[in-house]
Symmetry: D2
Subunit: 340 residues, 4 copies
């Protein structure tokens, strides 16, 4: 089968399309014909050898893929041949809190990923895709949507609360859509008015251009009657965290998801202390969250915002595009062209 491999931690040139033997499903596993994948920021780290936890080398990259079950290993009861499925980011984190060993079962990290024609998923490392979803759409969910869901549920989001999202990457866009499904009010930031207009269409109640309004935390407080928001979907890290503390209300939550702003000075956490805030470390999520997310997606008719779909032979383009940071929502790689 065709697949991509990162053969060494030497940069993007180490990404090679290769021919590999088709994997075989063991007990309680199944073989899946991948139709579509999507890239996430974390995938940028693998070619650089920069990510945490025991990454394989060589490594088939990408955690997020969807396809069709073509063969069942022994003892599989939840799925049948022909089922449309997506893989779970962690192959072995069904529910609750994971162990270190379970953390090492991340696709495209501790385990080979999904940028390949065929992949083996564990039975409890996959879910049926939402009704009415294409494979491209389903391929957007495993990392970014589950992450947003995890952040919103762990903070006990309720109707009438306010959620702040930063930027327009995959997690942030899902957070806007899902926060509306929770009945929350959404304030979104971006550097682009055009993107903010699009975010409003997706449900954001209020938007702030952080270039025009560098003190966006003050704008957030004004929009909340001086109170601050209930939950910040924090994808920026050290460069935005100080303002996120100030944007959150007394007793509010910072859902710490990403560190996209890189190596800025880290803020003192004393603001968190004085305001009884909670910072939740969010690292994707488990299968139970994925299943609950799909129930919400189906009820609310939520569809991913897909920025671009690239062909399998141009998978490298997905890396080059996401690194620019100009996208909105998700970047998909088509592995198998749809028929007809």
């Amino acid at each position: 089968m065709k697949a991509y491999q990162i053969t060494a931690p030497t940069g993007l040139d180490a990404l090679q399309q290769v021919e590999l033997p088709q994997p075989e499903p063991g007990p309680r596993e199944m073989l899946v014909r991948i139709h579509a994948c999507s890239i996430n920021y974390r995938d940028l780290s693998m070619p650089r050898g920069g990510y945490q936890r025991n990454n394989k080398t060589p490594l088939i990259p990408f955690s997020d893929g969807a396809g069709e079950v073509v063969e069942l290993g022994d003892g599989v009861s939840e799925f049948a041949v022909g089922d449309k499925v997506a893989g779970c980011f962690f192959q072995d984190w069904e529910t609750g809190t994971p162990t270190e060993a379970q953390f090492r079962t991340a696709l495209g990290g501790g385990l080979d990923g999904v940028l390949a024609e065929y992949v083996v998923f564990r039975e409890r490392g996959a879910v049926k895709i939402p009704a009415g979803y294409s494979y491209e759409e389903a391929a957007c969910l495993p990392c970014a949507a589950v992450t947003a869901w995890h952040a919103l549920t762990r903070a006990n989001t309720q109707p009438g609360q306010t959620v702040l999202t930063l930027g327009t990457g995959g997690v942030s866009i899902f957070a806007v859509q899902l926060a509306k499904a929770f009945g929350a009010r959404v304030i979104s930031t971006s550097s682009s008015d055009a993107k903010l207009a699009r975010v409003r269409e997706l449900g954001a109640d209020e938007t702030i251009n952080y270039v025009d309004t560098p003190d966006w935390d003050e704008a957030v407080r004004e929009l909340t009657g001086g109170m601050g928001v209930d939950n910040v979907i924090e994808v920026g890290g050290s460069g935005t965290l100080a303002k996120s503390f100030k944007s959150a209300k007394i007793g509010g939550t910072i859902s710490l998801i990403g560190v996209l702003t890189g190596r800025a000075e880290n803020p003192a956490p004393s603001a968190l202390m004085r305001n009884l805030q909670t910072m939740n470390g969010i690292y994707v999520g488990n299968r139970t969250m994925f299943q609950a997310l799909i129930q919400a997606i189906e009820l609310h008719g939520i569809k991913p915002l897909i920025d671009k779909v690239l062909p399998f032979d141009d998978a490298r383009g997905a890396y080059e595009y996401i690194v620019q940071g100009q996208h909105m929502g998700k970047i998909v790689v088509r592995v198998l062209a749809p028929v007809g």
Copy 2:
């Protein structure tokens, strides 16, 4: 001032319109000119002397009222003269779990209620009414809407979950509307197809006529793929509880709110045990819940369903109407006619 009093636990004839001195606000209290009240099932018990906890005699009945602040006692800082407010069901239950003494501060129960031209509320026993609400609408909230909110929040309702409501009384109708604001799917029962049509308009996704379908628990399971619902808004008590157990999923919640079906045989609780279910005893709620509810109401534009508005001189008619059980939503008494 004019007011109603229940002078003895001898039935509805003990309800008398009387002339009483206007009350005076003490420290951290305020005098409110009542414009509208609403009745709840619990108010039926007072004339019969049948309710729990140390009811006053004579008693001004009704817990739910809204009006205008006309005078402030010493030390009030949250409100100003002219503010439109509604009283909290419990005058002294601000947040957390109440004490027995705090439970005895129920309006129209341990304390005099609001079926009067003027009432004194404690500063932390009142809230500002939702933006855009009339006094009639605001008078619908303190008992029924707070109860529904309490049930939905305590069960950690999430988008994609399913909530089952029984009948079309005040709590059940609010539960339908609020469960939709939580992003949940709603299944509602009633004995009337006409009412079920109305409940669908208010947001219910599925409806069951329990006269046509006496095994409505089986219908609920069918509508949930055999799984059962996440949360039952249980207002029936012994007559419906056995079927509510069967309607709820493994790990699901029964929000026990009312016992309207009266003296049927009580079911064994073993079903709850075997299915890891939780039964939450819900008894209205506190001021913090009321404030959070109002945030949700304002964001979602929820308005109460008012079945009928009666004039002050016909307050007895509210008792006679609610006891028939044919209403949908709330029954209001107008204390002060709107100007113009």
Copy 3:
């Protein structure tokens, strides 16, 4: 190998010692040489065909067993040959909330149990026994101790709270010992002063003889300054539940575990409602709970109270003894005699 089987739902005479082929471990399973088992009340139902969920026929009974790993199936990484292990009550309920299918993996219920010389456990259906534990002691934990742990953790038991235990069966005795490890105060009931003296030795702070004090709920309230307890470990069901409601405080918890008192009239749940209480349906628990329990057991040096140890050939005696209800703590069956 030797084993017991219940061959038909015709009563205790259907319990037969038989010779069966030794089972073989599949992938992620392991073969365990059982040394000791223990009986629970639920085991009384199997010979009568009376229990819930798809019991096997014929059925090897008993859920609780401990022994030594003698052979590993493919892919087992958590255990090695020679490890001392106990099986989890549910072979497939690792954490979180189970599905109906997972509920059907109860040992000695939906699956064959442990009253046999050899048993196959799933890798994630077993735990290492506590340090310093004999096999007899370890065989006491899977059902009764996990149940007590589940009840105490789900109710968020804290130091200074009060826990009420009813009677001196296996769950109640573990609840006494574990509630002390949570830092709680314990009030225990029994019909026997001798047993109450023993329960005090195990940690109970206060005891009530419910024969001498039939209104034991009033005694409980006196012992708690009129407030009631935080958590009732309710093993009696319909015959004790009304008094349990009265024994619990406002906002308190009833942990519903058993229905030992049989077919008394069921109480109305309205007390639960009026006092904002929570009733938690407890049905043993999952592997994560078992592992946390073992951490607590090891830190606190808790040992099970074993009433009697019977030889394998007299397993029937365990049924006959538990049904009398005169025991204190656990009744064990020795499958393999200790060496030396």
Copy 4:
């Protein structure tokens, strides 16, 4: 009456003993004859004008005091003249989450404190002191013990879990004692072997001298089988936080309480993210926590560790002593000498 005042934010010389009129209790307030006070690190900030939230000037310092009720204002029902009471750190934070306005009711901060012969407490801003406590002992509780209790309860501490405490200040010593009451295992650090020996006597299971073992986070991981602890009582802030992240397990909690290490470089929060950890901002706590704490203190017979008791005329000595950081536990100021 005699009292101390900080008359300007100009340093410790601005602390003056003065003669002030005795305050008078308003409605729902009471006058208390203070017998003893205690100092906390936060009190060091007031003379420097360095603390958050609207501090008064001039200000009577100290939040923690205990004494005897000598006069009741109107409407007080929970207390009687002669009751022994301690004030709550926040006079108006009864339970739940506070508002900004409630946060400004800190004694010795937004409101005058307790370093005076007479103080007025609000009825719901005081608690009865634990049975068997002296006034000196009770004066140790309002800030440090409530803080430790808040940290342990918010992290859902359970028996068998491991809690890490840093240093031997007031909060850390209470955390050791209380964590044992929760049934947890305790690991404590200090720079002094003598202090570590004392901490062991108070209940710590393991100790680490962080001077001898600068990589104390590695020592913590070794002591927990490589897993890390469940909860870090983090009083150091930027200087210890990076190691605290590493000391906590996957899914563990950092209870952020203090920033005693001052202006070290702040660590990146990405460790928190990758390990699904939670950081809880802890800022003392509310009256409900204080009351629950007292229940635990009484049941477990916990007494504060008092390092030194100073006479009222030497209150300045308390500042000078705490700033050295050589104490263990609490530093008390005797306002009224005990009789006899």
